[in-house]
Symmetry: C2
Subunit: 213 residues, 2 copies
DNA sequence: TTGCAAATGTGAGGAAAACTCATGTTTTCA
DNA sequence: TGAAAACATGAGTTTTCCTCACATTTGCAA
């Protein structure tokens, strides 16, 4: 997924693909563009991020920016894709070797904490996933990511409850995961104390659903 | 709340307030503007809604539009405000006379169904609440609305469980309500069947939290 | 090495849409 | 009835995204 700077779709239209950097030089420049975008998003949010500013800060021309990214959304999408790849690896690892209810309880609890800290600490991630709903490509990326993550959870549940209806387990896992993401978004947009309480309440609610039933 | 076309804030800045219509003529024109905006959002989504198109369809000039709405977001905000006012009345009524667990179960279940149908049926509402996260003023309106709605739920819970910690009940009610909204947004963005399943799963999960504990 | 094609780089300028403002018209009301 | 306040107008300004014609650099085969 490293070289895939071809962007996603927008408004249901597939954006024109752009050249992927093939030379060392251009690969480094693309990195600089992404770093610049990331910094600007952290400072002012992706909405206020200006393409001209990204180019200037990356030390490239506006034309070069558009050489590798078909539009503004594609830059944000590329950053989002990196985050999802990272977090999926982390989640997969955390849930892979869960074999009993107690293990699930511990792994899930830790996972929620890690995610929450990640959200609190990374303004870029916060910003990107806030805007998720408004952008079709991002929404789809997030949905795909969420499904993938939920699948790890589904696998655990199927292991723990072989008798249960698999489709129901899938629905449950997906819903719990989505609710987790919603809770995170909510938690970071309110006072810190209330956010903590909400995350704790979510954890309790989710665990009740996951380990008993 | 009828004459408050003064808009909310954006990006943390308070938008310049505009004149509220005081004459019959202008009140009718503002209605036409809102109706035109609503129709355009239903057709193409709020992102694709053009101010010029709103003005044209309302039969007014672009200048008149900006006479009463400081910016594009203010129009969307005004529509959102109407929806929240309507739905709050409905929710309040549904939960007002719940006196036992069984009553809560029935009222809540019905409420979720009504909300889901509303989301499915109203493209404008769908669109507006989808974009919620990206717009600060809308997010705040939604948060305030959600808190108000959760308060009705809190009141019921306090009645049913006088011994429980009030703060915990508030957190639970707020979280359940927010999760409900998140579930709705999710449900309408996937296949109909899966959406139904997700809403059903949410209902079950929420009720378990609400009536037992 | 040379030379050419592909890849990369550039920034002035086109395009689209939000929003302003100087000016004109209608309503209100003392 | 007349003046002030409210309302209406739309050409024009601004802002931002993005394109494109042309220049430069790199990879590589002869």
């Amino acid at each position: 997924m490293e070289g895939s700077t071809v962007s996603g779709s927008q408004d249901g239209q597939i954006a024109l693909p752009r050249r992927a950097p093939s030379q060392q030089r251009s690969r480094e420049r693309v990195e600089r563009m992404l770093a610049a975008a990331s910094a600007l998003i952290a400072e002012q949010g992706s909405d206020a991020m200006r393409m001209g500013e990204v180019a200037e800060r990356a030390g490239v021309s506006i034309g070069s920016l558009y050489q590798f990214f078909p539009d503004k959304r594609a830059i944000i999408w590329a950053l989002a894709e990196r985050y999802t790849a990272e977090s999926q690896a982390c989640i997969s690892a955390a849930l892979a070797d869960v074999i009993d209810a107690e293990g699930l309880r511990r792994a899930f609890s830790e996972l929620v904490d890690i995610y929450y800290r990640l959200f609190l600490a990374s303004p870029v991630m916060r910003d990107i996933w806030s805007g998720t709903q408004a952008d079709k490509a991002l929404r789809e990326l997030e949905l795909a990511d969420s499904r993938a993550n939920a699948d790890f959870l589904t696998a655990v549940l199927k292991r723990l409850r072989p008798a249960a209806d698999p489709a129901a387990l899938e629905t449950t896992a997906f819903l719990i995961w989505q609710m987790g993401e919603a809770t995170m978004r909510l938690a970071i947009s309110v006072e810190r104390q209330e956010g903590d309480d909400l995350v704790a309440a979510y954890k309790r609610m989710a665990l009740r659903e996951l380990v008993s039933e």
